[in-house]
């Protein structure tokens, strides 16, 4: 199973990763605010992650690490 880890405090909540995910694993956590004042990304359904790293490829701030 793939494992995702986020450096949440660097997230700017742009959502490019959310759109890039083919399995719709990610979402912006609208109930949380990080240090920068954005809604950070979180894995809504990590079990569905296939470890393609498309999210990390599109992340401008390099906050996502993908393990498989």
């Amino acid at each position: 199973m793939a494992k995702l880890s986020f450096r949440t405090d660097l997230c700017k909540g742009c959502g490019l990763c959310v759109d890039a995910c083919p399995k719709k694993v990610l979402r912006l956590a609208t109930d949380k605010i990080n240090k920068k004042g954005h809604h950070p990304v979180e894995a809504a359904d990590e079990a569905a992650c296939i470890g393609c790293a498309f999210c990390a490829t599109m992340c401008p701030d390099c906050i996502i690490q993908v393990e498989r």
Binding site: L10, K12, L16, A56, T57, C59, C62, E67
Partner: protein, 252 residues
Amino acid sequence: MIVFQKPKALADVPMHYCPGCTHGIIHRLVAEVIDELGIEGRTIGIAPVGCSVMAYDYFNCDMIEAAHGRAPAVATGVKRADPENHIVFTYQGDGDLASIGMAETVHAAARNENITVIFINNAIYGMTGGQMAPTSLPGQVTQTSPYGRDVKLCGYPVKVCEMLSELEGPEYLERVTVNNVKNVKNAKKAIKKAFQNQVEGKGFSLVEVLSSCPTNWGMTPQKALQWIDEKMIPYYPLGVYKDRSGSAEVSK
């Protein structure tokens, strides 16, 4: 097994770019290429003036800040000081490279200086607040062209790759973009080739990357990436414009 992590050549600091700005993706691609070629210890980057003015904080290799537009001239000096050991790249936006730095760009290309130029084209002046740039599209609304760029008054956008491809000097010119996963992978290949050319001593390599500016275009990050597809790529076609050594001929 880790399939994706931050490249070592990229510093572990928060970047100041706006949410959704693709500068960050291009920084990462450059850092990945530096890692893969194992050249971090001998690479010297030249930072421009513009949004990426603080690029010197984001790479772990040595960096120099050049006066506005003069990055290719500074790169020439750094490269010629020790051509065997220095790997020199410049990272420039369109206001820097295509406007005030046009002379340096054209002459560095004409001399076939053995440097790598990463040219970020987002069709606007980002740092100063969204004014019309030399690369703004006809009809594009900016702070200084509120009714859209009028080509009768302001002239036509500069197509840097097409223009430089007419020179005999440059070794390699390619235009790529980073608006989806496939294009990011292609952009990385182009940037890697541009660095590889320099390692092999082939000469001037420029990669133009069509980038987004959600803040100054007045769009969401997602819409900005679509806008690249819909508006920018038709005007600035992707492809290899010059590759003297490559087998692939000009494929526009």
